[in-house]
């Protein structure tokens, strides 16, 4: 965990200091923001389907497994979604500037999300829907923890 956070801080802050070294080219920044937006939207859509499965009381295991795998994959990719220079100063985004002001905290929350997504994926893959439901709840907690501080309302 500690190493991951340090690594994540390094990634985020490296890009922050990168402002001095070489600012992210605009085209590249916009491409990352687009990928981030699409990725977050996909996470949301997958989450909506999963939450319906669990709320039904009788989750359909193949749907849960597939959704969990999708989330775990997107969570991994999210490490590259927040380089400095991809905030609201660059374009329309739900990412708050606080992400780059509290990099250590943000990186820790991102890692917590990735670990929770991996744990949920493992539980879902095992076929134990009870365990999967518990890990799914943990995962939702990590989403909320980060969004409360770092996501703004975005209308599109």
């Amino acid at each position: 965990m500690r190493i991951q956070v340090v690594a994540a801080v390094a990634v985020v802050s490296l890009s922050a200091t990168g402002v001095a070294l070489a600012a992210l080219p605009k085209g590249k920044a916009l491409a990352i923001m687009h990928e981030r937006h699409e990725g977050m939207e996909k996470i949301g859509d997958t989450n909506k389907l999963l939450s319906r499965e669990f709320r039904s009381g009788t989750p359909f295991a193949p749907a849960v497994k597939s959704g969990a795998a999708t989330l775990a994959g997107l969570a991994k990719r999210s490490s590259g979604w927040f380089p400095a220079g991809t905030g609201p100063e660059m374009g329309k985004t739900g990412a708050k500037p606080e992400i780059w002001q509290n990099q250590r905290d943000f990186a820790a929350k991102l890692v917590a999300f990735q670990r929770a997504a991996a744990a949920f994926n493992a539980a879902a893959a095992s076929g134990d829907m009870g365990a999967a439901k518990a890990r799914y709840a943990d995962l939702g907690g990590t989403c909320k923890a980060c969004h409360d501080s770092y996501r703004s309302e975005m209308h599109h």
């Binding site: 939450s51 709320r55 969004h147």
Partner: protein, 229 residues
């Protein structure tokens, strides 16, 4: 009968009951919860927002029932009138207590607008799929998203518009020398002497309505039909 201005210059008598306690409590609690709902959803308290909506649902259910079995001024049949009566009122030819024929239209519009808002909220979920109304599982994610967008638009247009009209009417009457706010606090107003006094509803009937409203709201919270989809 001499022609009279509609706004408060009818022959008045001393202060008499016009709004019973349930009507006043519903009014002020609803006003408070609407403001709280708006505040909470814009300040990362979506969970509080949802509970506030369920409290509003409970109020509406209670008020709906109290409109059939409550005090005379609370009853739907007492204040829902045709256009002819509204015209009569505007010409100063209306005597009565409680909602005026014009005010009644505003009450019904507000009640319906808030009911629509609650209905949309019940099937909504947030953009991230992290918070959802108790009946969201009964519809598809696409429908929930649609309901959420409309829930927001409906607030910004219908609810804000009707609340603004409501407040504007209060200010208008206040400038003409008639306070509508004070009677909604104290329950009493100087009334037209020719009008029949309010017949008060029974307290135990109010309690039964409240218990029923809680029971129905509890059923909705559980996810409705056979407890969830």
């Amino acid at each position: 009968m001499p022609r009279q201005l509609p706004l408060g210059d009818a022959p008045l008598t001393g202060k008499q009951p016009v709004w019973d306690l349930p009507v006043r409590l519903v009014h002020w609690t609803l006003a408070g919860l609407v403001v709280f709902s708006w505040w909470s959803v814009h300040n990362h308290h979506t969970d509080w927002h949802i509970w506030s909506g369920i409290a509003i649902l409970t109020l509406l259910l209670f008020r709906l029932m109290w409109g059939f079995v409550g005090s005379s001024t609370a009853r739907w049949t007492g204040f829902i009138r045709g256009p002819r009566t509204v015209v009569d009122y505007l010409r100063g030819r209306w005597t009565g207590i409680g909602h005026t024929p014009l005010g009644a239209l505003s009450v019904i519009a507000l009640f319906l607008a808030v009911a629509v808002q609650v209905g949309l909220g019940l099937i909504s979920e947030d953009e991230d799929g992290l918070y959802y109304g108790p009946l969201a599982s009964l519809v598809s994610p696409a429908t929930s998203d649609w309901a959420r967008d409309l829930h927001e638009t409906w607030f910004e247009t219908a609810i804000v518009g009707l609340v603004a009209l409501h407040v504007a009417a209060i200010i208008f009457y206040r400038l003409r020398g008639k306070s509508l706010t004070l009677p909604m606090v104290t329950g009493k107003a100087a009334l037209d002497r020719r009008a029949a006094p309010m017949r008060r509803g029974k307290w135990w009937v109010a309690l039964i309505c409240l218990a029923l409203a809680f029971a129905i709201a509890r059923w909705v919270v559980a996810g409705a039909p056979p407890f969830g989809a």
